[in-house]
Structures are given as C-alpha cells and as structure tokens.
C-alpha cells in the first residue's frame, strides 16, 4: 500500500520520482473524448462547394474555348450564362449557412489575406462582377439588350478575368478546408484543392456538353468537351487514389466505413468510371450524353458531401488530432 505522501509531491519532499512512468504507455487520451470541435457545415455548404466549383470552372471553360468561331462562341456563351446563373444562386446558399445571416456584409468589412474564407468572399464578388459584365455583353450580342452594350464583352477582356477568377473560386474551397485543424483535411493540403478543381472542370465540361446536346449544337465541340471532361475526371481519380495511399490513417474517415463506401460507389464507380464507360459506348444518342453528364455531376456532389462528413468524423477521432499533420 502506497502512502499518501508518496503520491503527493507537494505533501512531502520525497515525491514519487524514480522517473519511471506511472501509467502504462498504452493508455492514451482522455476518455476517448474528441480533442477537436466538429465543423457545423451542413447541406448549404456542400451545395455551395459543388455549385461554386462548376460556376468557377464554367468561367475557366469560357476562357479556354474562346469566341474564335460560331461553334466555339456557342459553347462560350453557354458557359458564361452558366456562370452568371450560378453566381446569383451561390451567394444566397452561402449566406443561409451563417448563424447570423443578417450580418453577411461583415465579411466585407476587412480584406484579410490570412483568412481563406475572406479571400473567397472577395473572389466571389469579383467573379460575379465579371460574370455579370460578360452576361450583359452576351445578352446584347444575342439581341436581348441594346447593341451598344456589346462593349461589355464577350471578348478576351471578360473571358480572361472570368477564367482566372473562376479558377480561384473553384480552387480556394479546397484550400479553405485544408487550412483547418481537421486531420483528414489538413493531410490533404495538396490533394484536396487539386481534386476539387478537377471535379469542377469535369462537372462544368459535362454540363456544357449536356447543354450543347440539348441545343443540337456542334458534335465536334461536344466531343472536345467530353474529352476535357474525361481528362479532368481521370486526373481526379488518380489524385483520389494517391490521396488514399498518402493520407494513411488520417484518411480513414474519408476512405473507410460509410463515407468510403459512398465515395467509391457514387464518385469513383458511377461518377468517373461509369460515366467514362457510357461515353465510350458505340451508340449515338443524346441520352447517352445526358446520362453520362448526370452521373458526373452526381459524383461531384457526393465528393463534396463525403469531404465535409469525413471532416466531422475526423474531428471526433482524438488519436488523429493528438498528432496533427503538418
């Protein structure tokens, strides 16, 4: 029986100290209590991550395609209209997730490069402005607005900033997640921004291809859009696989269990492999293109959903949080 003075260092000069650990090394943590707090983000944030990615990459697509000839101009026009429509949908979706939506404008009382979310808000504002100018110019060109308003594009002066800001808007959300203490997001600081962008480009290209098919547009352009979509989706698949291997235990919440199953079914098997297989079918039908686009877009949404939910599970795992990834 150990006397009280032996375990109370203040009660005696002797203390406990022979330097040997008092507790077996296997005991780790505090009653399995989570160390980190779970992110509160729900459906509205997931929808914003998904739509914002398509919005930005549609701008990027408009820059890539350009207005060189009528076939291209049609694709670029669709992409610009997609951008402006999503730029009007995204802010309300984003504002709805705030605890105090009426204070949304407080986001713009500072310009803070250290805060990824603050940069994102300014980026979204700039993107919306350019997308608005591009849309006005496009409407003028399409005959819905006075002819003089064509000075607002669509020209390189709109397309280039739309593309660059679009790339930023699609990319910053991945950086935003990585720049947190959540282990699975932190360990993906290089992978998450990259595969989010790939998913955005795949989504924007498949949406553009579906729109073109519905309009009965150029088959050659549609093939090019599908080719770009497949390149982006293949890169996304490779990055996800590399991330799974790289993340190790930190990646468990995303690649194992319920979220892992959803990711491999909806994003990997259906969204990427399935859509590619359907595109490769030797059939000429608009339903083929529409189905493949729907599968790609579904996979893109599930990717964002899984990413957020995995972050919550990761926050609940104290063992991952004790050794935070660099």
């Amino acid at each position: 029986m150990t006397a009280l003075r032996d375990i109370s260092p203040d009660a005696s000069g002797r203390g406990v100290g022979d330097g040997a650990p008092l507790v077996p090394a296997a005991v780790v943590g505090y009653y399995d209590q989570p160390l980190l707090k779970r992110p509160h983000w729900e459906a509205s944030v997931k929808i914003y991550l998904f739509l914002g990615g398509i919005m930005g990459c549609s701008g990027l697509l408009a820059m890539i395609v350009g207005d060189g000839d009528p076939e291209r101009a049609r694709v670029a026009r669709n992409a610009r209209y997609t951008s402006i429509v999503l730029a009007t949908v995204c802010p309300p979706v984003l504002i709805s997730h705030l605890g105090r939506p009426e204070r949304f404008l407080n986001m713009m009382r500072v310009f803070k490069t250290k805060s990824v979310m603050n940069m994102g808000v300014w980026g979204l504002l700039a993107f919306s402005g350019v997308a608005g100018a591009g849309a006005v110019g496009q409407l003028a060109r399409d005959g819905f607005l006075p002819r003089w308003m064509r000075i607002l594009g669509p020209t390189w002066a709109v397309n280039v900033p739309l593309g660059l800001l679009g790339a930023f808007i699609s990319g910053y959300t991945g950086v935003l997640l990585s720049a947190t203490a959540i282990p699975v997001w932190g360990v993906g600081k290089r992978h998450i921004p990259a595969f989010s962008l790939c998913s955005g480009v795949a989504g924007a290209s498949s949406l553009a291809s579906a729109l073109l098919v519905l309009q009965g547009g150029s088959e050659r352009m549609q093939h090019k859009l599908v080719a770009l979509e497949r390149v982006a989706a293949t890169a996304e698949f490779a990055l996800l696989q590399h991330f799974r291997a790289y993340a190790g235990d930190f990646g468990t919440p995303m690649f194992a269990g319920k979220q892992g199953k959803r990711l491999s079914t909806w994003t990997m098997a259906i969204g990427i492999l399935g859509a590619t297989a359907i595109e490769a079918l030797p059939v000429r039908s608009k339903w083929k293109s529409l189905l493949s686009a729907a599968m790609t877009l579904t996979g893109g949404y599930v990717l964002r959903d899984v990413l957020i939910e995995a972050g919550k599970d990761s926050a609940d795992d104290p063992k991952a949080a004790f050794r935070q990834p660099e």
């Binding site: 375990i7 203390g15 160390l35 890539i64 805060s115 990585s178 770009l228 890169a235 050794r323």
Partner: protein
C-alpha cells in the same frame, strides 16, 4: 507583454470553482445535469458557453493494488495563442487581439460562419446555439450598440479572458475564485518566469514528469498566453503534443490549386486547339 493565465495542474484540487465563477460572471447557460461516469468530470470539454473545464484523470500507481490511484486535475481554458488559428481564419475580423494581448471575439461583429470552429487546433471555440442566447456585456469601450450587449446565439463563443474585468483592473473570475492559486493571472512574462522556477522545484522534489505546455514552444502556434504546468504527456489532458497552425497549409494549398488549374487549362487549350470550323 500581455496578460494571461498560468495554470499549475499540480495545485489543482478539482473543486470546479473556476467553472462556476466563469459561468456566473459571464452569465453563461448551464451545461445541464449529465452524469458521464468519467471520474468527477461531468463537463467533459470546453465549449461555446463553457469556458473553463476541469479535467479529472485517475491513474493507477501500484500495479498490485488497483485501489491506489494518483489524480491529475487540470482546469482547461482557451489558450489565447500567440499565432491563433481562429483569429487567422475569421473572415469578418470579429476575432481580434485586444490591448491585453488576448484573443477576443467581438460578439457584435461575428456572423456565425463557423470557420473558427475547425480552425482551432485545441478544439476550444464553438458556435453558441440559437436557443442559448446569452446576455453579454462586452461593450466595454463605450459602444452602446444594443447588439453588443444582447447576443442571442448563432455566433462563436469562447473565453474572453474576462476582457470586461481586465478593463477595470480586476482579475478574471476563474483566477479570482481559484482557492489554491492553481490558476494564476498576470503579465505573461512574469508568469513564465514563475512557472520555470516551479518546474525546477518540482523536479528537484522528484516529479520527473513536470513540464510546461505552451512556453518556449517551437510549434507554428507558438507560445500560449494561457499555458500549463503538466505532470504527464499532453494527450492525457486532451491536448495535442505539437499543435499545428492551420494557416501554414495555405501556401501549399494555393500552389496545388494553381498547378491543377494551369494543367487543366493547358489540357483544355490543347483539346480545343485545332481550330477552324470544318
């Protein structure tokens, strides 16, 4: 430079007077009556309206006699980091460093975006639920904005290091209430000197595990304005061994995004290159 806390866990007796004093002074709602069966800890964690939390660790000392335990008790609190993840993440500038060098959430500015919550490497800050409207009296700089006086939830909450009490020269409520001076408040540099001496004293007495947490740190988070004297590894107290400042991941993240965008754009230009209408 700046005011902070030195929490000496070897002096803590687990009375929870700090928890109570904090709740009372800051008019924070109750955590409810939950029995966790985890030693005497029914609070379990810091939260949006729980700004002091006393951890209770019971450890067997004698492997032949399981009735002999040693107690580790620690009053946890917001660390008021030198490089604070929450402060950097905050998109509105609501989280600021005040004149006492403490990390403070301005309740009339915060719009409840929730980005600070996963950005804290210690899991301290959280969102106050709407039904837990708390009446705060942080408008200490002469502002009469009703919003600052009455906050009804939906915003982030954490320890203010009793900003309002410091303003009038009082010690924070928890430090004032602590009966054993386990929680000491004062100038951080003075506290650090005192803490270093205390560690030497304890080690001389044979407490080999005595160490400071949050002093002379080489992590990206840096030193903590609210630091601790521990006698076991940090994980036993639910603290990370080497906390990482989340914003250090921004540069690789942005670089990766830029590279991916560039590569995809190049692929796109190549695909759409061979150009004229047939």
């Amino acid at each position: 430079m700046g005011n902070g806390f030195f929490t000496d866990t070897t002096l803590c007796i687990g009375c929870k007077a700090c928890e109570v004093a904090c709740k009372q002074w800051n008019q924070l709602p109750s955590d409810g009556y939950e029995f966790t069966a985890n030693s005497y800890d029914n609070t379990m964690a810091l939260g949006a309206t729980t700004w002091r939390h006393v951890a209770f660790v019971e450890q067997p000392v004698d492997e032949h006699d399981p009735t002999v335990n040693r107690w580790l008790m620690m009053s946890d609190v917001c660390k008021h980091c030198t490089n604070a993840g929450c402060l950097e993440a905050c998109p509105t500038g609501a989280i600021m460093r005040n004149e006492f060098d403490d990390v403070f959430i301005q309740p009339d500015i915060c719009n409840g975006c929730g980005y600070c919550v996963p950005s804290c490497p210690f899991g301290v800050v959280d969102l106050i639920p709407h039904q837990h409207g708390i009446a705060t009296t942080f408008a200490t700089d002469g502002r009469t904005n009703d919003d600052a006086v009455q906050s009804h939830g939906g915003i982030a909450g954490k320890c203010t290091l009793c900003y309002d009490r410091q303003k009038v020269g009082f010690d924070p409520a928890c430090a004032k209430a602590c009966p054993t001076e386990s929680i000491q408040f004062g100038d951080v540099d003075e506290l650090k000197d005192r803490a270093r001496k205390r560690v030497e004293q304890l080690q001389a007495r044979g407490v080999a595990g005595a160490r400071l947490y949050g002093v002379d740190e080489t992590t990206s988070v840096g030193d903590l304005n609210a630091f601790f004297l521990l006698t076991d590894t940090p994980d036993k107290y639910n603290l990370p061994e080497r906390p990482v400042l989340p914003s250090t991941r921004q540069r690789p993240g942005y670089t990766s995004a830029a590279l991916a965008a560039g590569a995809l754009a190049l692929a796109g230009f190549a695909i759409f290159a061979n150009g004229k209408t047939e």
